[in-house]
Symmetry: C2
Subunit: 255 residues, 2 copies
Amino acid sequence: MNAENPVRKSLQLLWYGLPDPKKGPKPTLTLEQIVRTAIGLADSEGLDALSMRKLAQRLDVGTMSLYRYVPSKTELLNLMLDAVSGPTHLRRTTFDAGWRVGLEGVGHGGRQQYLAHPWLLQVNWTRPVLGPNSVADMELIMTGLKDLPLSDREKMHVVVALDSYVTGAVRQEILSQRAAAESGMTDEEFWEAQAPFLYEIFDTGRYPTMASLSEDTFAGTWEESFDFGLRLLLDGIEQQLARRAESPDTADTPF
Amino acid sequence: MNAENPVRKSLQLLWYGLPDPKKGPKPTLTLEQIVRTAIGLADSEGLDALSMRKLAQRLDVGTMSLYRYVPSKTELLNLMLDAVSGPTHLRRTTFDAGWRVGLEGVGHGGRQQYLAHPWLLQVNWTRPVLGPNSVADMELIMTGLKDLPLSDREKMHVVVALDSYVTGAVRQEILSQRAAAESGMTDEEFWEAQAPFLYEIFDTGRYPTMASLSEDTFAGTWEESFDFGLRLLLDGIEQQLARRAESPDTADTPF
DNA sequence: CAAATGTAGCGTACGCCGTGCGCAGTCATC
DNA sequence: GATGACTGCGCACGGCGTACGCTACATTTG
């Protein structure tokens, strides 16, 4: 709760940045510059390639100089995360056309965001705190849901559910991308490399349903699959709302 | 496509294990033993603590001995993944009571699985191939959906959507657990450490909707939140099925 | 103007990691 | 008993995050 609380320190850095010093030599770098460069590095070469040494090299400073700005690599990742989490990807998304179109936009925007910065899904793993951009994002969405006949808690659940779906779906997509990339094959080549083996397995008769699936079961784009699931979820929300419209007196009951 | 194909080699190891040698000294270990110990280590101390050195130490062998059994750490992770991905967690789940109860069970089973082995969500990141257990899992589910008025492709989309949701939801849950654990606080302490800071932010008036949310918006258990989203998704599926029942002629149209 | 003081930059070093290489010991086969 | 494939594994290399403490410098203070 006091200043020496590590959580509080993290938040301080996220929301207010470094306190600028009054004495001593001028800093060569800025926090923002470091974060931006780190994001660029992670975008182009992957999170594994983002090391403090490489980052320092790209910024033309000594490795340990970075630690004047950032207390640890973990904290740097938190800063990167929030820097990229803002509502920028929602700019074109509004709730003017209703909650459904709005949430659909949020879903698609989120997907694009994750596809642009695949490392997001790895970094999040140790994310401890909320930054200004994440909060702004939430603000925008919750405002869009303001007039729905749901309790605040339910609205939050809806947002969490949507985010869960988006995150999980994109994760699978990136996973398959990465698997293909790592083996130096395209998605199709990779599949073709697996296929004969799997057919061999299916021929054992131990997996009759799998063996009987139609040829095009695994065809189709990731986007198609994403949209299918998103529609299911939105349909579910719509039904929940319809139920509320019928018996509005239960609007305050959890569910 | 031939034997020197690395994908094929991975699959070979997954499905058939090591070829047992005819000459030379008996191996001290088995593949299964290594995988099981590795899973135990990852379960109890986290994936970061799973190093080849530590694993070897726990198995009472030299570090490099492990490489007689497993070509690389990545391959070991693949083996761990499939070992744990089987339908074991579905044993109590059947589709006898209908698709909805079945899928609900799959969802809850998946959640339990991920909570028991939190490292699953980190490992998956480089997963390139399908193992026997994963396939058996899919077989079980697809068999349960056999009679639904959906195309195979749509059924697969349903399964993928469900898995996406489960994965994403559990990821958030584990994320928060881990954040709390790393700072050495309970979930509540962690929240309380953040709270005063956030209230400070809200008081600036820049986030009116967030500031106006009711006190209990963020209360509630993770399970409650999980169930809420799962229900939305299943409702969505149900509606899709209802539509098909009305106009069964469209059953083969993608959607 | 000069001294004191806090800060920036960063070289060195430590203890981790995955794993390529090649040697020594073991044992089924001929 | 000789052969040769196979097991176990020590050593070493090149990476990683980062603690420590030195030097250089800009500002404040006297």
